[in-house]
């Protein structure tokens, strides 16, 4: 079995987001970038399946500028076997376009499992996995918190849905998107980081795909969220309860 793990380079989750003064987007210059945390969980899950001998090869795919090679490398340092970068000029493509590119890569690579984060923490779209599954006509299990491979070429996946957990059985090949509870990603060890430098990353130009990458959505402006009104400090529990009851009226 082969896994295709799709990873995105995003602003590190610990960085304070700053909106650009011209409102065109958020500041990404000189900002720490990392692998989208949900995609990291996807890499970890694929590697665990490989360690259980349920998967033979883990391929890490990213779509973005040359810098996304770093993101692929960190997946390789965790234990991925090889990488594919679909190189673009633009930093961001829309999920529908990304879905079409992943489909096209998948047509060539023929993975049994496509696994990726349920959403990226930059645009928060939560679409790509579902789009890929639809275009490939693979079954999908989104928001996975547990994954088990059965002997009959199916996966049993527990999904985090509102109000509880849903379990579905899906035939392989399939698409899984990961939620937080699925696992805790490992840290890459120094020897593995060194080893990852020798692993192969194929670079494909976006132009070699017959896909229209024009955006359908136009970002008119990006603003700071409304500020919260400055609050007050209260002296004791009594005044806290009094304020919550009589001023905020939430108790």
């Amino acid at each position: 079995m082969k896994a295709l793990v799709c990873v995105k380079r995003v602003i590190d989750y610990n960085v304070k987001i700053r909106v650009k003064s011209d409102k065109s987007g958020v500041e990404t210059d000189n900002v720490k970038m990392s692998m989208n945390p949900f995609d990291e969980i996807a890499v970890e899950e694929a590697i665990r399946l490989k360690e259980k001998n349920q998967i033979q090869e883990v391929v890490i795919l990213s779509i973005g500028t040359d810098k996304s090679q770093e993101t692929i490398r960190s997946g390789l340092a965790m234990g991925g076997d090889r990488g594919i970068l679909v190189k673009t000029e633009k930093d961001q493509l829309e999920p529908l376009t990304v879905g079409k590119i992943i489909k096209s890569v998948s047509d060539k690579e023929k993975p049994d499992l496509i696994i990726l984060g349920k959403q990226a923490i930059d645009d928060d779209c939560n679409q790509t996995g579902q789009i890929v599954a639809t275009l490939l006509e693979f079954p999908q299990a989104t928001f996975a918190s547990e994954l088990k491979k059965n002997n009959d070429n199916t996966l049993e996946v527990t999904r985090e849905v509102d109000g509880g957990l849903e379990t579905v059985k899906i035939n392989i090949p399939c698409v899984v998107t990961t939620d937080l509870r699925l696992n805790e990603p490992r840290y890459a060890s120094l020897p593995n980081i060194m080893k990852a430098k020798q692993k192969k990353i194929d670079v494909l130009e976006i132009g070699s795909f017959d896909i229209d990458i024009k955006d359908r959505l136009q970002i008119l402006e990006v603003n700071e969220p409304p500020e919260r009104k400055p609050g007050i400090k209260v002296d004791d529990v009594d005044s806290l309860v009094e304020k919550l009851k009589n001023e905020a009226k939430v108790l």
Partner: protein, 311 residues
């Protein structure tokens, strides 16, 4: 302009998120129709019929839709909309909508607009990005807009009407690549984190998992959901699914109470839409005080029992 609202339900009742989505639709057009797919959904229809703003309800009652498998739902809805004149298709941005709607958008070759919080015009919307740390105003150039709506941003519609219902058949083949196994409803008597009116969360300051009992008593009295910061989850105090923050659950309750939480950026990102935030922390320099409407400086181990007693 004609809007189709996809109704979320559990074959028994209509989810509140659906009524909020109808309210969002009303800001786009007066011509709104709804579609309900399920099995044995008479009670759902009877409830939905009362919705204000709806011109018509289409109902497809079939065993294919006994469970909300996105493969079946998206195909059936796509078939239903073929040749129709809908300009907008709205679903709630719940796990139901998030799972299904992007599939519909792929079938129709439309770039979905996820999780809108405000409607500016029929083609322009606001949506939070970076977990609400920035708000993007986006204009869609697709001929049909496929949208998921953040339910907490739109008041549910009133229920004073009696809407016409039309039953439809489906000849969709069952998708054999996926099957439903089970649904385990959360056993907790507490409300869900993401829909609770009050949430109380603990951070690293709780020191260990055992001490979360101090929050439990308060949560019981307030009917609150319980959460935690990433630091508390990483330290193993409480399970992962309690995590509130950018990479955990995004919450927007009427009252959020942060106890022993310093207020890291990624935590704030998950709570900033709360109506009121109160915090208890012994470090008066902790960033959480800058985001709190009411801050109480002190030792949580002394203050929490007092708070429980006063409620």
């Amino acid at each position: 302009m004609k809007v189709l609202v996809i109704i979320e339900h559990d074959n028994e009742t209509v989810k509140q998120s659906s009524f909020s989505t109808i309210s969002a639709a009303k800001e786009i057009s007066d011509s709104i129709e709804a579609i309900v797919l399920g099995q044995g959904i008479d009670s759902v229809i009877n409830e939905l019929k009362k919705s204000d703003h709806l011109k018509k309800i289409y109902k497809i009652d079939n065993e294919l839709f006994q469970n909300p498998l996105a493969e079946n739902l998206s195909k059936a809805i796509h078939k239903f909309t073929e040749g129709s004149d809908y300009t907008h298709i709205l679903s709630p941005s719940s796990t139901f909508g998030k799972n299904m709607s992007p599939k519909l958008s792929a079938l129709m070759d439309v770039q979905q607009i996820s999780d809108i919080t405000k409607i500016i015009s029929d083609d322009t919307f606001e949506r939070p990005i970076y977990a609400g740390n920035a708000i993007a105003k986006v204009k869609s150039n697709d001929p049909i807009k496929i949208i998921t709506v953040r339910p907490t941003c739109f008041e549910p519609c009133a229920l004073n009407s009696s809407v016409d219902v039309e039953s439809l058949e489906t000849n969709l083949d069952k998708n054999n690549l996926i099957s439903f196994v089970s649904y385990d409803k959360s056993k907790s008597d507490r409300p869900e984190l993401t829909s609770a009116k009050i949430v109380i969360s603990g951070g690293r300051g709780m020191q260990n998992g055992e001490n979360f009992r101090l929050l439990e008593g308060i949560a019981d009295k307030l009917g609150a959901a319980m959460g935690a910061s990433r630091a508390a989850v990483d330290a193993g105090f409480v399970p992962n699914d309690w995590q509130v923050g950018q990479t955990g659950k995004i919450v927007a309750p009427d009252l959020y109470i942060a106890v022993g939480i310093s207020g890291a950026i990624q935590h704030i990102a998950g709570i900033k839409d709360s109506k009121f935030i109160a915090c208890i922390n012994k470090d008066e320099e902790a960033p959480i005080f800058n985001f709190s409407d009411y801050g109480l400086v002190g030792d949580l181990f002394e203050l929490l029992p007092k708070l429980e007693e006063k409620l």
